[in-house]
Each structure stands twice: as C-alpha cells, then as structure tokens.
Amino acid sequence: MIAVTSQQRGAELLAIENLAVSFAAGQSRVRVIQDVSLRVGPGMRLGIVGESGCGKSVTSLAVMGLLGRGGKVEHGSVVFGGRDLLALPERQLRQVRGREIAMIFQDPMSSLNPVLTIGEQITEAIRAHQRARRHDANARAAQLLQMVGIPAGEAALRRYPHEFSGGMRQRVMIATALALSPKLLIADEPTTALDVTIQAQVLELMGRLVKDAGAALMLVTHNLGVVAGMTERVAVMYAGRIVEEASTPDLFGRPAHPYTVGLLHSLPGVQTRDSDLVPIPGMVPQPGHEPAGCAFAPRCRWRLPRCWTEQPQLEGVEQIAGDQLAAGHRVACHNPVAPEEAGPGFPIRALPFVPPPPGITDFTGQSETAQ
C-alpha cells in the first residue's frame, strides 16, 4: 500500500494506479512498464527521471492515450477528474486532451507540422475545444506568443516552424499547450534537444507559466539537474518500474535506492558529497529480458540473496538503519541505502558478495575473493 500524506489525500488531480503497458515484439508482447503508481495533486510538480528506455515516456504517453498501435495497456487505471482515462471512449478522451491535460514533446523540430504556420497550429488547438472565430483565436494566439516571449505577435503567426530556432519552437509548443489553461501539463524531455544555454530559459519560462496558471506539471526527463530545480516530488524509474519516489529535497538529500545513489554519483555537480564521478557499471536490461527478482541486482552493491528471486515492492519505508525517513518516501528495495552510505556511494556495512544465478552477468566488478 502506498503511504499517503495528508497533503496528497483529497483533491488529487491525477492518480495512476498499477499501470502496466506492453508493446508488440515480433509475435509476442513485451512489458515496458509495470506496477507504476503515481499521484499528482493540483498545482503539484512531479518529476519522473530515468535513463533512456526506463519507461518514463511510455508512462506519460499512456496517460494521454497516445501509445500508438503497438502499445497496449495490460492493466491499471489512470484516474483524472474522477474518471478513468483508460476506459474513456475516444471522443471523450479527445475533450480531455489539450483542454485539461496538455503535452509537450521532446523535439520541437519534429513536433510542429512543417507545412502549417505556427498561427494555424496554435489556433487549431483553441478552436478544437472552443467555439472561437478565427479573428479571436488569432488574437489569443498572438497573446500567447507574447506570453512566451516571442515578439511581433500577429506577424509571427504567419511564419512557418522552420523559420524559428529550436528554443523558440519549444516556446511555441508551450504556448499551444497552455492555450486552454489545462490543469496538468506533461512535458516529455522538453529541453533535451535544445542547447544548454537555451534550456535554462525555456525551463524557467515553463515553470513560471505553469505556476501562474495554477497548473500541475509532470516533467519527464533523464536530467536530474533539471528535476532538482523544477519539481517538488520526484519518481525514479528503472527498467519499467518506479524504484524510488520522494519529495525532491528528500531524494537528493537522502536517497534510499542504490540506483538513485548511483545516478547521483555519476552526474557532475549533483553529488551529495565531494567525490569522484562514478559511473554505474553494466547496462540496463532489455525489456523482456529482465532478471527474475530486482532488475537492478546485477549492478547493485547492496544486494542480498533475495534480490535475485524476489521483486521488491514500492513501499513507504519509515526507517533505514535507525534513520527516520520522511513520510511519503517510497523505495522498492530489499536493502535500501543507509544515510552514511549515500555520500560515498558504496555500502559501509559488511555485505557478503552474492554471486548471480547462472546465466546472469554480474557487473559490480566484485568477486568471491575480494571483500
């Protein structure tokens, strides 16, 4: 069960419960995400982080019902405004899209239609949900462009996407997304395709506008730095599951899952202590080829024998090695990281080396003899 704090209870905007999605692979299907449960309250900012392939984008696409032909929701529910979006007929789902939940995508080069003017693309979003005359829609679009910092409103509406730079195109996407004042904005890697200097600008703009609109934000990214500045809560995903979920300060200050610890240590500037960059050895398992038990086990230095056989559940942990965790801090781990281990990034307790079962490679670089 999920430990729910008093803040989260009550007016929940979006509740994803036990979501599992599979994709076709040849003749069979492969589970890409499993047991994903998240809550987003009104005006809340949630970040979802993980490496490529961990399923974070699939999660956000599933919410919008945009999985495409190969994707199928195996089970779970996505409750928004009292209704399960996954059970809604297409017509009603369309009314939710754009108006109540909006989404912006990673590559502004390809998320804007090259043969339509940006004005047409903003106004069509407006007119899809409201009866607005072209004149009024254009005026609103010009207003929105101004809001995102694109000058010369009306004239700009007649220009084509390829006439703008990447950063400006993403601003157009933000303007389009916020046109109808949605209650939730999902941003899937919004700045990954942009130059570093532009990234900060666009993020700042997005954050400010979302706050002004009172909307909630679900920010999907692989960049922990982005998450640190923009979100209140973070969920870390690995191999299709959520492995840790906590408030942002808790996650960064007191990471509990070995993967999270490894992530923090492999990124410059986001470390908790002054230490060398330590990459996590090994690779993410392919979907469909995860080991039984915990998917992170081959790369984990905290592993116990049961890690090979038992899938850890995501649950609220009250204390680890005598240290109190904040309420609402959930971890999926049989042997979470103790506070004094988070800094250095490796176990301090004496942990015997647990060899992998046959057929599975160990990546931690340890051996039976060295300990």
């Binding site: 076709a24 490496e51 495409g68 032909r69 190969g70 990673q106």
Partner: protein
C-alpha cells in the same frame, strides 16, 4: 492454412502453412531458395525452348492441322495460328523475358552506378556535365525513347537490349549520385579521411558498399517494369522477332485473332503478370528488409524512445 493439432500431453502445436514458414526463414536462406528455384526454372525452360522437354512439343513445331485450337488435354493452353503449342511457347518465352530483363537491369544499374558515383564523388565540373547528360536522357518518357532508339538501330533483340539499357541507366546514375552525396558528409567518411585514407580506398571500401544496397533494391524493383516494357516493345513490333516465342510478340500476334481465340492472348499475358508480380514481391521484400519502417503499422514497432 494453419491447422492446430493437439499432441499427447496436452501441448498445442500449430502447423503453419508453407508460405508462413517460408516467410519465417531468414532473408539469406530465402534468397538461396529463390536462386535455386530460378535455376531450376531456367533449366526447365531452356529444355522446353530447345524442344528437349519430354512432354511438350517444341515451341517452334508447327502443326497446320490444329491451328487456333482452344485449350485441351493435349494442348493445355491451346495452339496459335501455326498450330504451335502455346504452353511450350509460353514456357520458352520465360527464358527470353527473364534473360533480357536481367541483362538490361544489370547493365543499366552498373553503368548508372559508375556514372553516378563518379559524378558524386568528384563533384565540380565532372558532376555538372555528367548530370546534365543524365537529365537529358531522363527527359524522355521511357517507352518513347526506347522505341525511337530501337527503330534507329534495328528490329532485333540486341537493339531492344541496348535501347532499354540506355533508358535505364539515368535512374541509377541519379540514385547513386544522391547516395554518394549524402554519404560524403557522413561521419565515417570524414573519419576515414582524417586517418588519411586515399580517395580510391574511400570510394571502394567506404562509398560503394553503402551505395550498393539501395541500388540492388531499386534494381530488383525495376525488373518487373523492365520486363513489361520489353514486352511492350515486342508488342509494338520492335524487339523479339518471329518465330521467337516472346510473350509480348505473342500477344501482338494474338490481337488479329481476338476475340475468338481468346486463349492466345490470355496465357502469355498471364505469364507476364505472374512473373512481374513475383519479381515485384521480391523487390518489395528486399526493400522492407532494408528499411523496416515500411513494413507497416502491424504493431511491430513501438513509438520511438523510452
């Protein structure tokens, strides 16, 4: 047709049809099977053409007693105006069509590839000149130019081959050049050059192997079209001359006896359609193999990204 059988012990096995199984074999094996099949076919038709095939009369053997006979047991496809067995002629015609088509496509593609690669690789004036020449030839509709050339050179199979080759190569030149141009900027070329690779080495090791797949795919797709064009030229009277049992000229001869001797035009055309279809399928399969995005939204691929 898939039949489901239940083996003892309760496990269910499915017997898939031959086609499904064939489709499941890797492309390399499929190619081998096809080549083997084609070789068998070629040997057979060669035998038929030479009158050496045991059950069928020679395609040239006339029988003025049984002219324009409808399909029967002794002549499954009927006879033509000289009493010749149409089945033998249709089978023998396979040789001509396939042979000529393959020669044209291979010649045209090779010639085009060389010109295109040279143009793309060396650039500058060479490129300009070669491309202008290519464009000039591309300015003519296929058949018209082929007909004009064949008329100028003469009415025989060799002339047809030359004519068709002249019309074919510009497409490959353009294709090859386009490939070379895009490859030139690719990182691996720049990397090789920075390591000091000579131009010749670059051309043969780097560029050609990457140009080939596209050209081969295009060539395979083209075979059907060239075959039909060749038959078209024969239908116009250029190309294979009587008494050669070429499908196109057979249809031309059949025209006089329409609609009474309906079998005369039917079977050669059917043979053309089936053969062209087969090669087109092969070409499609090859293209899909190289570029899986074209395999269609059959649920094989999910959205890009995590």
């Amino acid at each position: 047709m898939a039949a489901v059988t239940v083996a003892p012990g309760g496990s269910v096995r499915r017997r898939v049809s031959v086609v499904r199984e064939f489709a499941g074999i890797s492309v390399r094996n499929r190619l081998a099977v096809l080549i083997a099949g084609l070789s068998v076919l070629v040997t057979l038709t060669d035998a038929v053409a030479g009158g050496r095939f045991p059950f069928l009369p020679s395609p040239l053997a006339q029988n003025l007693v049984a002219t324009l006979a409808p399909p029967s047991l002794s002549h499954p496809m009927g006879t033509d105006e000289y009493g010749r067995d149409i089945l033998s002629r249709v089978l023998a015609g396979t040789m001509i069509s396939v042979e000529v088509t393959l020669v044209v496509v291979i010649l045209g593609a090779t010639l085009g590839m060389l010109i295109g690669v040279v143009a793309g690789f060396f650039g500058g004036t060479t490129d300009e000149v070669l491309m202008r020449v290519t464009d000039m030839f591309l300015a003519f509709p296929f058949l018209i130019l082929a007909a004009a050339i064949a008329t100028a050179i003469g009415r025989n199979l060799t002339a047809t081959i030359i004519a068709l080759t002249v019309v074919e190569w510009p497409w490959y030149a353009r294709l090859a050049r386009g490939q070379v141009l895009s490859l030139r900027e690719h990182e691996f070329v720049l990397a090789a050059r920075s390591l000091g690779a000579s131009r010749r080495r670059l051309m043969f090791r780097g560029i050609l192997p990457n140009v080939m797949p596209v050209l081969i795919t295009q060539a395979t797709l083209d075979i059907g079209y060239v075959m039909l064009s060749m038959a078209g030229l024969s239908f116009l009277g250029i190309g294979a001359q009587p008494p050669a049992p070429e499908w196109g000229s057979m249809i031309l001869d059949a025209l006089t006896y329409q609609p009474q001797a309906w079998w005369y035009a039917l079977f050669p055309g059917l043979a053309l359609t089936i053969t062209a279809f087969g090669f087109n399928l092969l070409g499609d399969g090859l293209r899909d193999w190289f570029d899986p995005t074209l395999a269609g939204l059959r649920g094989d691929t999910g959205p890009a990204g995590p």
